[in-house]
């Protein structure tokens, strides 16, 4: 079952008189429960593709089907709603709110949901997620009191609070040492395998990419190739 599908997606930036085409016709689909790595060098259009996949940006032309809905024409406010309900983000630099406890950080996305959630229920949900990522004893710590790995785990918990269909992780281990990186990637694999959460890992590091079940390569705004992990590279 396809969770998302991109059909002939183009993205062109208009800078004054010049047009800068970044994505030049992307077609791909990702099924539910897949753990996909998106690899590419800087300037390849990887970030732009991720922004479009994450509904932070809209394609200039082409279709984007997410969870059975065509959303390439969605307005900014509609996309905000989609992000809130369907997508979770994990960033390279964690992006936690400073001087706020881990629990409150995890609760933050609930403020923008359409439904009002009671204070107590909010905190319960957040506590459960923090337990799941192994931060039972750190719930009232602030980011300055947490290590890099712990902060990223808080970020992962936050991304899950609204029960998203898709988790987008942009270089999640970029700021972590190798040991902690491994921990985080293992956690993501667990979430994918045990909970069936669809995860897209955006990275330039082949080591990281090998944790994924499928690797999509992008170059110069086009899909260069796909590979199953540990399999031979297939040509498009």
């Amino acid at each position: 079952m396809e969770l998302l599908e991109l059909r002939e997606v183009y993205k062109t930036y208009h800078l004054g008189e010049m047009d800068l085409p970044v994505l030049k016709g992307i077609t791909l689909s990702i099924a539910k429960g897949e753990l996909v790595a998106l690899m590419g060098a800087s300037g390849s259009g990887k970030s732009t593709l991720m922004n479009i996949l994450g509904c932070l940006d809209h394609p200039t032309s082409g279709e984007y089907w997410l969870d059975g809905q065509e959303i390439s024409g969605a307005s900014a406010n509609e996309r905000a709603g989609l992000r809130n309900r369907l997508i979770g983000f994990v960033f390279q630099s964690f992006n936690l709110l400073a001087r706020t406890t881990a629990l409150d950080n995890v609760c933050m996305p609930l403020a923008y949901g359409a439904q009002y959630v009671h204070d107590r229920e909010m905190k319960q949900r957040a506590a459960e997620l923090l337990r799941k990522v192994g931060l039972d004893d750190r719930m009232d710590h602030q980011p300055s009191q947490l290590s890099g790995g712990e902060q990223q785990r808080v970020a992962i918990a936050r991304s899950l609070i609204n029960g998203p269909r898709l988790l987008l992780a942009d270089e999640p281990t970029g700021n972590l040492d190798s040991h902690t990186s491994e921990e985080i990637l293992q956690m993501l694999r667990r979430l994918n395998q045990l909970e069936g959460l669809t995860i897209i890992l955006v990275t330039h590091d082949p080591q990281v990419a090998h944790h994924a079940g499928r690797i999509i390569r992008i170059r110069d705004g086009l899909i260069e190739g796909e590979a199953e992990a540990k399999n031979e590279e297939k040509q498009p």
Binding site: A76, N77, R83, N95, L97, T100, Y112
Partner: protein, 446 residues
């Protein structure tokens, strides 16, 4: 709200402008309010609802001879005013004199010597005496040689003893002191109201031959153009006539010295300050009728009321209050600019946070609302602290400088409203800027 708690020192410094502005407004308003209430109170004791009717100017051959040069007011006019004008509470005729008062080896020239009736005390709200009693209508009828004196006279002539029952001399006429007035202090023009001797007007006019304070022109020629009223007409004798009444021919053949029973002014108290205009209209109509003035001829009297004076004094204080308010508003505006400044910095600092919030689903309106609320809360807190500070300042002023202050609820309410408004107005632009951020750029911001 947590955002504010995160950086309390900065929040506190930001609101300093608002705090000072609001404190200034509150303190000014309370001091201004206190002084205007003080003035109103003083005016009330001076007789804010008092009117004075003066005789008009004489025109001898088209040239005005000044106020009081015709004798056109009579005590009967005073009675008529009280009887026929519904908005008048009391009226009394007044004859002025200026002469020396002597007691033993002490003497003094009082500021005011007024011949009047008992009603004068009611008009001037002076009915409760400090000692003794007031003279009565019988005293006026009989030209009794009694008087009431004010506190200053007591201080000057009777420093060690009670004046009641003692005799003071005005122009070699001995007056027995039967009452002492309660103290009133200075009036708005700085004159000492307690420097006063009150006696029946008949006594002052006919027995004390000091010149009247107003009329100089008492010649028969000018008097012939007006009606004269003789005392025997005003106060008809109740006893049996001992002699046959002279016929008109006999009276013309034996001219008697004419004694004019005209008074220098009539003081009137309206029922309330609000009824003064009505009272003025009623008195004008009545006097024109009594003096047989045809429509078109000018009034032969003048009515003066205190409201002009009140208005002058209160307009000065009002002007001062307005100026102080302008200064305070300027400081509030400066405070608002400070708020906007800091909010702009805050927005820039929190760009990544804004990007993150948008990434997890915040819409531009959510961001706008968040930052606007922060600005308004900041301003309301500043306003509350400012109100406290302002009240403290005005309390300090009251205790140390002894200036009057009065709590002004209006100022407090408007301070809260103004703080909130400043927050909304000066916080809007930064909040709007925040909401216009693009999440992708914001997330990348260093």
């Amino acid at each position: 709200m947590r955002a504010l708690r995160r950086n309390t020192l900065r929040a506190a410094l930001t609101t300093l402008g608002i705090i000072i502005g609001v404190a200034a407004v509150i303190a000014m308003m309370e001091i201004g309010n206190g002084s205007s209430l003080q003035i109103q109170h003083t005016i009330a004791t001076l007789g804010a609802n008092n009117l004075m009717v003066f005789p008009g100017n004489a025109f001898a051959g088209g040239i005005s001879q000044g106020n009081g040069s015709i004798m056109t007011l009579t005590p009967v006019d005073a009675d008529a005013i009280l009887r026929e004008c519904p908005s008048v509470a009391a009226a009394a005729p007044v004859v002025r004199a200026r002469t020396q008062v002597v007691y033993g080896n002490r003497n003094w020239v009082p500021n005011t010597i007024s011949g009047t009736t008992e009603a004068f005390l009611e008009v001037r709200d002076w009915a409760d005496m400090a000692q003794g009693d007031s003279f009565t209508d019988a005293d006026v009828r009989n030209s009794g040689k009694v008087c009431m004196i004010g506190q200053t006279i007591v201080r000057q002539l009777f420093p060690d003893e009670s004046p009641i029952g003692k005799e003071i001399r005005l122009q070699n006429v001995a007056f027995k002191v039967i009452g002492v007035l309660r103290p009133k202090g200075a009036n708005m023009m700085g004159q000492d109201q307690d420097d006063i001797v009150l006696a029946p007007w008949t006594t002052i006019k006919y027995r004390v031959t000091g010149s009247s304070a107003t009329t100089q022109n008492q010649s028969a020629a000018s008097a012939s153009t007006t009606t004269t009223v003789l005392p025997s007409q005003v106060y008809p004798s109740t006893s049996v006539a001992l002699y046959p009444v002279p016929s008109t021919v006999q009276t013309t053949d034996t001219p008697q010295p004419i004694r004019f029973a005209n008074v220098d002014q009539i003081v009137v108290a309206a029922k309330s300050a609000g009824q003064i205009p009505t009272a003025i209209d009623e008195i004008t109509a009545l006097m024109r009728e009594r003096h047989h003035l045809r429509p078109g001829t000018p009034d032969d009297f003048t009515i003066r009321d205190m409201t002009e004076m009140t208005k002058t004094v209160s307009s000065t204080t009002l002007l001062m209050t307005k100026l102080l308010l302008i200064v305070a508003t300027i400081s509030l505006v400066v405070g608002g600019v400070g708020i906007m400044n800091i909010m702009l910095v805050s927005v820039t600092e929190r760009t990544r946070e804004i990007g993150l919030r948008m990434a997890v689903g915040a819409q531009p309106s959510d961001i706008l609302r968040q930052f606007l609320t922060e600005a308004v809360v900041l301003c309301l807190i500043g306003g509350a602290v400012g109100i406290g500070l302002g009240r403290t300042c005005s309390w300090l002023v009251r205790v140390t400088l002894k200036w009057p202050t009065a709590v002004s609820m209006g100022a407090i309410v408007s301070a809260v409203v103004v703080s909130a408004t400043v927050g909304v107005v000066f916080g809007y632009y930064p909040a709007w800027k925040a909401s216009r951020l693009d999440p992708i750029d914001a997330l990348r911001y260093e």
